[in-house]
Subunit: 98 residues, 4 copies
């Protein structure tokens, strides 16, 4: 293939799937592939918004989606971090924002 093609966004605004869900899929893929490693932060909400050309609220909604999937935990003022292992049970967590 060429290295000059202009296709650069995995998000399709015309899709029936909401942008936040599409973006959550992208990040989830990077988590499962190991590109985003356990205990390491995912890009900040502002960074995601800039990088993928969405509003900050959409990036925030993406983080909410990933929390609900159990893939990240979010710490106020610090960031959102990849969880160690996809949890089977959430009865141990504490102080996780929602």
């Amino acid at each position: 293939m060429s290295d000059t093609e202009g296709d650069r966004s995995p998000l399709d605004p015309m899709s029936a799937r909401p942008l936040y869900a599409q973006l959550a899929d992208v990040i989830a893929g990077k988590i499962r592939s190991g590109e985003l490693a356990p205990d390491r932060p995912i890009p900040s909400e502002n960074h995601l918004a800039d990088e993928y050309g969405v509003a900050r609220l959409t990036a925030r909604r993406t983080a909410q989606e990933l929390r609900e999937r159990g893939l990240i935990v979010t710490v106020r003022g610090k960031g959102s971090f990849v969880v160690e292992q996809p949890p089977l049970d959430v009865s141990e967590e504490s102080e996780i924002v929602d």
Copy 2:
């Protein structure tokens, strides 16, 4: 009814032409006359519905009609915008929301 009352709406509910098409004609006229300029937003669906006394769904159908005529493009969460130059042919358009 009388023929002297102050009703001055350009829309005729009794016409065989659908209301959405009549309203699309009105907006199209304002676009071609320059009253609605290229790259500028047309009134919102709610605004059109209020201003012309039609249902929201009719205003929505009007926007769809104008998109199909190639006169506007619609951006989710932003509004509908007058295209730069009224196209002569619509057989080439793609990726316009519908």
Copy 3:
């Protein structure tokens, strides 16, 4: 006290408790008191926003809060409805938006 005092909103924008949580408390009180009965709709998001002088997004966040507390269920295009009885278990629900 007098019967002429002008205090009319139970919400305090200066409080450290978020507006959406304060509003959720107000609605929850009306549910528990029976003012909002089981299987009956709570006021729409737009109505809540108008009545309590908050943005629609804040009213939406209130509904999310009430869903998380298990006090309402939300149906797209219909509204949000008071649940029959505060559930002890949520393993039976289906098609509840979030």
Copy 4:
């Protein structure tokens, strides 16, 4: 002051007067001169930080200073606004966010 260099910032980091107070003085001057009119918003915290080359927190502290001087009121999610008439006494104010 000197003479020919292009540095034209009204703030002096070497001064014993805190930066936030210096910046508050600058904004207060614009309010009293009418450059910032009553009921109109002052520049956002981000804007002030960029324009005067200070940290976001310094801009925030500036706004707090101006609130304490009774020159602005701050509305969450909207901005900070110049008050109608600069008060001569601040011993009566209440319910101003801080």
